[in-house]
């Protein structure tokens, strides 16, 4: 009963999840987690630990090889394609490699989620302009994204991920290509979104960022996942055995 309540209240709920590619070995085993609405987590682990794979299951690009994944209370194994599409619209994703459409302008890239959801073009224009101004790219609205610098592209990618006010924001190394100042500015943007109710998961290697922002950590190690909560005063972390 407790499990069912957890599942329904969670933005993401994973039970005994395993993932392998083709006939290779499992890269994730027996993952259990429950991310509550409005929570903020860092996702950590060594390179190759499976952070990107775990995120891909969260943003519904990958089905687990075994176990069950529920997103917004819906088991992805039983959802039809249209339902999955509607669930994806509630998720904003910032990719490590940005995944912008190179031949489009910054404006058109950021406008994509709004246009997909069928928003009126006047409102699209207003919201995209506001968003690009907010991330400091108001001068680059009509620039083709391939002509922008790495940091600017990253901000376009972040603007695209948050433009639709997603209920879940997943970011894979979102501060990897920017200097410290911009990294902290972007982190503050995620914190603000979180305060507005968005559940946030950020995959990062940056210990500095993790220690600066006091949020729980989902740590991938030996194919499994452990959750650590920060200790208020000492800055030490303790493992939560419940999850």
């Amino acid at each position: 009963m407790q499990k069912i309540t957890n599942k329904l209240n969670s933005v993401i709920f994973m039970q005994n999840v395993g993932l392998r590619y083709d006939k290779g070995p499992e890269i994730l085993s027996d993952i259990k987690m429950s991310l509550k609405k409005g929570s903020f987590h860092f996702l950590t682990g060594k390179s190759g630990a499976g952070k990107t794979s775990l995120l891909s299951m969260m943003y519904l690009a990958q089905k687990p090889t075994r176990g069950s994944v529920s997103v917004f209370g819906q088991n992805v194994n039983f959802a039809n394609r249209d339902n999955l599409a509607m669930l994806r619209r509630k998720i904003g994703v910032v990719f490590q490699d940005f995944r912008l459409i190179d031949h489009l302008t910054a404006f058109d890239n950021v406008a994509l989620p709004l246009r997909i959801s069928g928003m009126d073009e006047r409102e699209v224009k207003q919201r995209v302009n506001e968003m690009l101004e907010w991330v400091g790219l108001s001068r680059n609205i009509n620039s083709i994204t391939s002509t922008l610098s790495g940091g600017e592209q990253q901000r376009v990618a972040i603007a695209r991920a948050v433009i639709n006010r997603p209920e879940l924001l997943l970011a894979d190394e979102p501060t990897g290509n920017v200097d410290n100042d911009i990294a902290f500015k972007l982190m503050n943007l995620f914190v603000e979104l979180n305060k507005l109710g968005t559940t946030v998961v950020i995959a990062t290697h940056s210990e500095k960022l993790i220690s600066e922002f006091n949020y729980p950590r989902l740590h991938l190690q030996n194919k499994g996942l452990r959750i650590y909560y920060p200790k208020d005063d000492t800055g030490l972390e303790k493992e939560d055995e419940k999850d």
């Binding site: 999955l84 994509l112 959801s117």
Partner: protein
């Protein structure tokens, strides 16, 4: 930031233009349309030529009964008439023959008047008798076989040689038309295959964009329609270019053939319907490209979650 849903969707929500794969598809389609248009024009021209020739031999036929040689003109006429009656009797039993009438003396006289004048008794002259044979227009008559049979029935009877020659030519042209149809089918199959391949290649280069749209929550049909529409625009532009090059080429060939005065090729002209058919080719190729794009994207997406 309040989200409002629009009542009507923008037709061109995602700009997908501006890459080189579109140019490749456009060039492929213009070449395909050009080749198909030229081949189709050839088939239509042969068809029109055949139809003109067929019209001239359909419905009527003339059989000539040569006069029997005899010093006694009375007997000669009698024997000639025997041959005429035998031939008539046979012809009336041939399938597809509706009526057979000998040309009356008055008509014969009228035909020969320019050479012989008014006051000549034709019965005194060794002139051929003519049978006017009325045919069913839908009947398929083997003129060669008929000619041989008539000669067997009567040594004096023969089919009009022009029509016989034309019927042989029609047989040849008919074969040529079948060959042209095979060529047309092959050109269509090859060019369609090339367009399907070019469309798939072009979309292969866009798999990245398809995945981005998919992850952002676009439904499969939405993505497929976006790409289908974009492909349609590219294909139509390519097709229009192909036709724009093909029409003057066909027109030039047509003019050159008309210059052969009195020649059989001059019969091979294109009607306004033929030109309309040629002009509509881009529509078909655009449809092929659009349908290919739609199902290629759908298939690509079906492989994803």
């Amino acid at each position: 930031m309040k989200k409002t849903k629009s009542k009507k969707r923008n037709k061109n929500e995602i700009s997908l233009k501006g890459d080189s794969s579109g140019l490749f598809l456009e060039v492929m389609i213009s070449i395909a349309v050009f080749l198909f248009a030229i081949t189709l024009a050839g088939v239509l021209a042969i068809n029109s030529m055949l139809s003109n020739w067929s019209d001239s031999i359909l419905g009527a036929l003339t059989v000539q009964i040569m006069p029997v040689n005899n010093i006694d003109q009375g007997k000669a006429l009698e024997e000639t008439l025997v041959h005429q009656n035998k031939t008539m009797e046979y012809l009336l039993n041939v399938e597809g023959v509706e009526d057979v009438k000998p040309l009356e003396e008055k008509q014969l006289q009228k035909l020969l008047q320019p050479w012989l004048g008014d006051s000549v008794d034709l019965n005194q002259l060794p002139i051929p008798r003519l049978l006017d044979v009325k045919l069913n227009k839908n009947a398929k008559i083997d003129f060669m076989g008929l000619s041989e049979k008539i000669s067997e029935i009567s040594s004096q009877a023969s089919l009009d040689s022009h029509k016989l020659w034309l019927s042989k030519l029609i047989g040849f042209a008919d074969g040529l038309r079948n060959l042209a149809l095979v060529a047309l089918s092959l050109v269509f199959a090859i060019t369609s295959g090339a367009i399907v391949y070019a469309t798939q290649t072009s979309l292969g280069l866009h798999r990245y964009v398809i995945n981005i749209l998919h992850i952002m929550g676009a439904k499969d049909t939405y993505i497929a329609k976006q790409f289908s529409r974009r492909t349609g625009v590219i294909a139509f532009i390519g097709g229009a270019l192909g036709v724009a090059f093909a029409i003057p080429t066909i027109f030039m060939i047509s003019k050159l053939s008309e210059a052969i005065e009195g020649g059989i090729i001059s019969e091979a002209h294109l009607t306004e319907y033929s030109w309309a058919a040629i002009a509509s080719i881009p529509v078909f190729y655009t449809m092929i490209a659009m349908v290919t794009a739609y199902y290629t994207v759908k298939r690509t997406l079906e492989k994803t979650m």
